[in-house]
């Protein structure tokens, strides 16, 4: 009997080992990346179910970027035994081999259409981007370094919306993921990750979970910053507005970003009101100015260039320039009310 048990255990062990080696995440051997998303073996079962294999951890962030109302499913994977550590500025130093996975999908008539999956992979201390575009059958996604346009229909607030969703090309990725011309992740930073997440094993804070599984060398304290979410209606409107601009604009509009030339800096931490647009005249806005004089004219949202460009879907006017085709109405309302309710500051 005992012998038989041993055999069974042995057989099971062999099976387990076989399974494990089968489901192990694959890192491409060179920075070109795999041609197909499936080759990374990040998910098991039907690929479009996005059911992560062991070690691929779902996560969420406090203040996400608007991407034409796309829903997002984010995951992270690190090679076994590797750990990330926080930098002083609240960003995170990830180990080589880290894969950040961001799936973009839309829901229409209760059916999910995954449009693209963006991977950020760290090779030899350098992040590389990989845009994968899903096929119609939703069986796999193929790398499209030059980007793509994908027709999409979805429902938002009971309204059906059809448009051409734009998958960014490799260079466009860097347009936003850019600090002094170095490509960096935007989302997964300490303050952004500091929130609860409903894991299969229970709902706990993401930073605690990452620490527990050895992904992050960091112990959360009550002082750990929490990124403000623009959707949080319990905080004042200025905080919400600045959180929105931080999450949606500041990756370019900061002194090291792609929009450094504008002098308009929209990080949450910027303290100089003119830097974030109050009574600031544009530098190279062209017809993006809409005939208005100031980026933000306090109490006069209709006279503020910043809002004018958020409300536009004309490629020569709209902001952000890339990653958006639709108007984010909820944000337009927020910024409108923020400017409308500012203290009066005559600009001239």
């Amino acid at each position: 009997m005992l012998l038989r048990k041993t055999y069974i255990v042995l057989i099971f062990s062999i099976l387990l080992i076989a399974c494990k080696s089968h489901s192990e995440v694959q890192l491409p051997s060179n920075p070109k990346g795999f041609n197909l998303l499936s080759e990374y073996k990040l998910f098991e079962g039907l690929l479009s179910d996005l059911k992560p294999v062991k070690g691929v951890i779902p996560y969420d962030i406090n203040n996400p970027l608007f991407s034409d109302y796309a829903e997002k499913a984010r995951f992270i994977w690190m090679p076994e035994g590797k750990t990330a550590s926080p930098n002083e500025d609240g960003s995170i130093q990830y180990p080589d081999g880290t894969i950040l996975v961001k799936n973009f999908f839309f829901t229409h008539e209760n059916k999910r259409q995954i449009v693209e999956t963006r991977l950020l992979i760290k090779f030899k201390s350098k992040w590389e981007v990989y845009p994968y575009v899903w096929n119609k059958e939703q069986t796999d996604a193929e790398i499209k370094n030059a980007g793509a346009l994908v027709p999409v229909t979805f429902t938002h607030l009971k309204k059906e919306i059809s448009f051409k969703y734009s998958v960014p090309n490799k260079f466009q990725c860097k347009n936003c993921h850019n600090a002094d011309n170095v490509l960096l992740p935007i989302g997964p930073k300490i303050a952004q990750l500091n929130k609860l997440f409903p894991y299969n094993s229970g709902t706990i804070n993401q930073l605690d979970y990452w620490e527990e599984i050895g992904y992050l060398d960091y112990h959360r304290s009550p002082e750990t910053p929490i990124m403000t979410s623009w959707e949080n209606t319990n905080i004042n409107i200025e905080q919400r507005a600045k959180a929105y601009l931080d999450g949606n604009c500041a990756h370019c509009h900061n002194p090291k970003g792609s929009a450094s030339t504008s002098g308009l800096f929209l990080q949450f931490t910027e303290l100089n009101p003119m830097r974030w647009g109050i009574c600031k005249t544009p530098v190279a806005a062209g017809r993006g100015s809409g005939g208005k004089t100031f980026d933000i004219s306090p109490q006069h949202p209709e006279e503020s260039i910043l809002l004018y460009r958020m409300k536009s879907d004309d490629p020569g006017v709209m902001m952000p320039e890339i990653g958006r085709k639709l108007v984010h109405q909820e944000a337009v309302d927020l910024i409108y009310n923020w400017i409308k309710n500012m203290e009066e500051t005559p600009c001239n």
Binding site: N145, A146, G147, L149, K164, S166, N169, K170, F171, Q172, K174, N175, N181, P255, S258, S260, T261, G263, N272, M274, R275, C279, K280, T281, P282, V283, A284, A285, G286, R287, G288, S289, G290, G291, K292, T293, F294, I305, D314, P315, G316, V317, M318, E321, I322, K325, C347, N348
Partner: protein
């Protein structure tokens, strides 16, 4: 797919063999070309020459290139390779280029981007040569802002280009170091050529004709690279820049009066010589401080004054009789002078650079010499007035305090081949 392959084939063939395909004049409207060319740019290797084939190509999205070294993008000639963004659906620029080293573009025509036709940010070594950049629907406020727009770059050469109908500046070099703009022809733009917040620039042998303003040398506040300086403007032909100002309001060039030859705004060390400045209806050369625009700024490091300006040996004349009054500055000029003037100085100097007699110290003067005997000069003396109504009281036409000269303005520092 078949046609994608066809276009890739064209590009490859043009690139690697001397035999050129016969491309017709047909308009090639196709997502495939868009994809093929963007794919080609994405896969560009350092040191490559990417040739654009002959033909008329309609593009619907911005073309991007980033992070490459020693790459050249070359068409078959300005009358052979046409890139049109008339039906642009996405992105604002025609080309959006960033973070490149020793990058060059030449020999094609680019048209009708929604925003700038060619924007290049963070180039270390840039050549734009023999490019025609234009908007084809006349002078409209809805045209894109800049025809050629290098910014935050180093060692920039723009030569033998033609730029027209930009709703801001035809050629706009911003926040860059070591800049040459030469032998270009700019017309029907709001500003022909604008040098903004640059250090060490030479602008010469250009023709700027029928813009609102010919050549602008500006220094603007609240920007990462401020206090632009050391610029030479010489041997240019600046004629009939009397076009209606069609810039969207809110942009600084919207304040430029039609009929302006050269404006130096808030910039230090500018040498303007041997230019032909003919038939502007407002002013040949204007030297101004940022205060004159009455716009707010918040930049403690910014110097809003123009100083160390030399204007010498230019030929300035006009046959126009009345100053254009379609802008506030034009109205001001009209109120004071009625007639178009050859040279105007706003008289607002940096108080820290004045001697006890209220005159700019050596090396910081405004020097105006040998620009013809009949020169019509006006000094607004605006520093002395609190209320614009008093402007007539202090304005003067006495040029003698400005009869001086100084050396040391060197323009670009690195030699250009």
């Amino acid at each position: 797919m078949k046609s994608t392959f066809f276009y890739i084939l064209i590009i490859v063939v043009v690139n690697f063999s001397a035999c050129k395909p016969k491309a017709g004049k047909d308009l090639l409207v196709s997502d495939d070309f868009q994809n093929a060319i963007q794919e080609r740019l994405v896969n560009a290797q350092d040191g490559e020459i990417i040739e654009l084939p002959e033909g008329n190509f309609q593009l619907t999205q911005t073309l991007f290139i980033e992070g490459v070294n020693n790459v050249t993008i070359k068409g078959q000639g300005i009358d052979k390779t046409f890139l049109s963004f008339k039906n642009q659906e996405e992105g604002s620029e025609g080309f959006n280029i960033s973070n490149v080293k020793n990058f060059s573009m030449s020999d094609f025509t680019i048209e009708d981007a929604k925003g700038d036709n060619i924007k290049i940010k963070s180039a270390d070594g840039l050549v734009l040569k023999n490019i025609n950049s234009r908007w084809t629907d006349g002078a409209k406020e809805s045209n894109g802002a800049y025809g050629l727009y290098p910014v935050e770059s180093k060692d920039v050469l723009v030569e033998d280009c033609e730029v027209s109908y930009a709703s801001d500046a035809g050629i706009y070099v911003g926040q860059s170091v070591n800049v040459v703009v030469r032998r270009c022809y700019t017309h029907h733009n709001v500003a022909g050529i604008e040098i903004e917040n640059c250090i060490n620039s030479d602008v010469y042998e250009n023709r700027t004709i029928n813009n609102t303003g010919g050549i602008l040398v500006f220094d603007l506040p609240d920007l990462p690279l401020s206090n632009g300086r050391n610029s030479r403007i010489f041997n240019n032909e600046i004629q009939e820049n009397n076009h209606k100002n069609f810039a969207p309001k809110g942009n600084i060039v919207a304040t430029v009066p039609p009929g302006t030859g050269i404006i130096v705004l808030a910039t230090d060390s500018v040498d303007i010589f041997n230019n032909k400045i003919i038939n502007q209806k407002s002013v040949g050369i204007a030297i101004a401080s940022y205060q004159l625009l009455q716009k707010p700024y918040n930049d403690s490091t910014y110097g809003p004054y123009s100083s160390a300006i030399s204007i010498r040996d230019n030929q300035i004349s006009t046959n126009k009789l009345i100053v254009d009054m379609s802008t506030d500055l034009g109205k001001l000029l009209f109120a004071v002078y009625r007639l178009p003037m050859d040279i105007i100085y706003d008289g607002i100097a940096d108080p820290n650079l004045l001697d006890d007699n209220g005159i700019l110290k050596d090396g910081h003067q405004i020097c105006i010499r040998n620009n013809g005997d009949q020169i019509k000069f006006g000094n607004l003396n605006a520093a002395k007035i609190d209320n614009l109504k008093d402007i007539l009281k202090y304005s003067s036409t006495d040029i003698t305090p400005f009869d001086c000269s100084f050396k040391g303005i060197t323009g670009k520092k690195t030699p250009i081949q």
